[in-house]
Amino acid sequence: MLLGKQQISNMFLAAAALWKANTGRLGDIDARFGDGDHGVTIGKIAALFEARVRDWRDEPIGDFIRGLGEAIMEIGGGSAGPLYGSLIGGMAGALADERGIDGPLLKNMLDASLTEMFELTTARVGAKTMMCAMIPAVEAARAAPGDVAAVLAAAAGAAALGAKNTENRIAKFGRARNYGEQTLGTPDAGAVSTALLFEGFLNGIRQE
């Protein structure tokens, strides 16, 4: 399977739909140890996904993704703006003017995204941040068989597990850090939204 404009559009639309359905839950998780606005921010980024897909004319996939990343940076959502802007925009780092993406190229895109994230944050697995979902997702994608569906399925599975595992971690970053051991038992809102992003991408290629 090759991901063209249609499939990439479906991926972002499906991710937006899943995010929108979960804004309340993300807000509730964030309100426990953060400032409660992660659902609002994720809702804004989801709306941006939809608007950008709607306005996508004929530019190559790389240009579309780069432009989307830059727009997310400016969403005004605290740390989620620069972080998701880098996660999405960073994927364009592996792209020139391709019109279709195969499994190996998709792996390179996820690698490029992770490299961009590493420039921005020192958080790693265990720190109870979105990186607890992102890092295993990219590692699983790298190890997956070559097909795009297998790559996304591996990434989505690992991200979901990574997000679940944050329940057993003590927050080391962001506002939640100040609560220390009280954060045990609650997942990290950013890790949950990252897992939903990969799940949404996977949903997107399953619909035709």
Partner: protein, 333 residues
């Protein structure tokens, strides 16, 4: 629970508050783009200019201090959320009048990410910019680990020092060095007794029992350790004052600035009662308050509580603090 706030659609909060703020203070500031509050006298100012950034919902901070002698451009994100880096790069370009820009960033996760991305970009473009980070909350990290300290009300007197240094015609390096010296010698401790509602979501921030207070809370009432039974004004004043004196190692005979910043729902009556006790305690220790402020500078919606701010002062910093300024929410003649 339903919010009792006079708002319209939650997604328009920041836009509407900025519109209102700008027309209410049109003699001093105006809006540019959709998220920049700009000093009306910026254009042609032959001096270093001051740019800052931060979330909304903390009024009058941060944009209430845009004007002559403090901040030239403030970039607003959304409620409690930092703006993006491109907006800050644009603000720095707008602010630059040929003498360079001092960029003041409060230490919060989102603001720091944006601050770092902004500095990367302005360096790439060859702009003359120096960044000062305000990080003075003594409750969430020791002084030796200042990078983990959050930025609270201390950014506001820091703007005053920076703006006055810039108005004197000092170079960017000198303005930055003075601001940094002030920032290195400041400390804040906060206490919360009742939480705030996030105005976009209606969710409660912090959950304190009827007879509890929490010392050390951060900007939004996040927890941080010092939860204890509610105390009297005099007892609370002593706990907080001693925390700050000890963090800054202030000795007998030194001169300080003392600010009591109400965070939204604590009355001026309470703040004056606490301030009075602070003065008595400092007199006993032979420590002189040479600069002060009691009131609301940086709020957190209807959170009840206050931030106590202290800084070590010298004659040079005091002259800068006393220099004239004219902004919507802070004026000196």
């Amino acid at each position: 629970m339903k919010m009792k706030k006079f708002i319209n659609a939650p997604e328009n909060l920041t836009k509407e508050l900025l519109e209102g703020f700008a027309v209410a203070n049109g003699d001093l500031v105006h809006l540019e783009g959709n998220r920049m509050v700009v000093n009306n006298k910026l254009k042609g100012a032959g001096r270093v200019t001051i740019v800052t950034q931060g979330g909304a919902g903390h009024e009058p901070a941060l944009s209430g201090f845009v004007g002559e002698g403090m901040v030239d451009v403030s970039v607003v994100g959304d409620i409690f959320a930092a703006p993006g880096p491109q907006a800050c790069v644009d603000a720095i370009k707008l602010a630059d009048q040929g003498k360079g820009v001092l960029y003041v960033v409060l230490n919060h996760a989102g603001d720091m990410l944006t601050g770092n991305l902004t500095m990367k970009q302005v360096k790439k473009e060859g702009l003359q910019v120096l960044k000062v980070v305000t990080q003075e909350d003594i409750s969430n990290a020791p002084r030796s680990n200042a990078e983990d300290r959050r930025g609270l009300v201390g950014c506001i007197p820091a703007y005053k020092i920076a703006g006055a240094a810039a108005a004197k015609g000092l170079s960017l390096e000198e303005v930055a060095a003075l601001t940094q010296r002030f920032a290195d010698n400041m400390a804040t401790l906060a206490v919360a007794v009742r939480g705030a509602t996030h105005p976009s979501t209606g969710s409660m921030l912090a959950d304190l029992g009827e007879d509890e207070m929490e010392v050390g809370m951060g900007q939004h009432g996040e927890g941080g350790g010092g939860r204890q039974p509610m105390k009297s004004a005099d007892e609370t004043a002593a706990i907080m004052l001693n925390g700050l004196l000890s963090d800054l190692s202030i000795k007998n005979g030194e001169k300080i600035m003392l600010i009591l910043n109400g965070t939204g729902a604590t009355t001026l009556m309470e703040l004056f009662i606490i301030y009075r006790r602070c003065v008595e305690l400092l007199k006993e220790k032979n420590i002189e308050i040479v600069a002060n402020y009691v009131g609301e500078l940086l709020t957190v919606q209807e959170q009840a509580g206050f931030q106590m701010f202290m800084a070590r002062m010298d004659d040079e910093l005091l002259a800068l603090w006393n220099a004239p300024c004219n902004t919507p929410y802070f004026k000196k003649v």
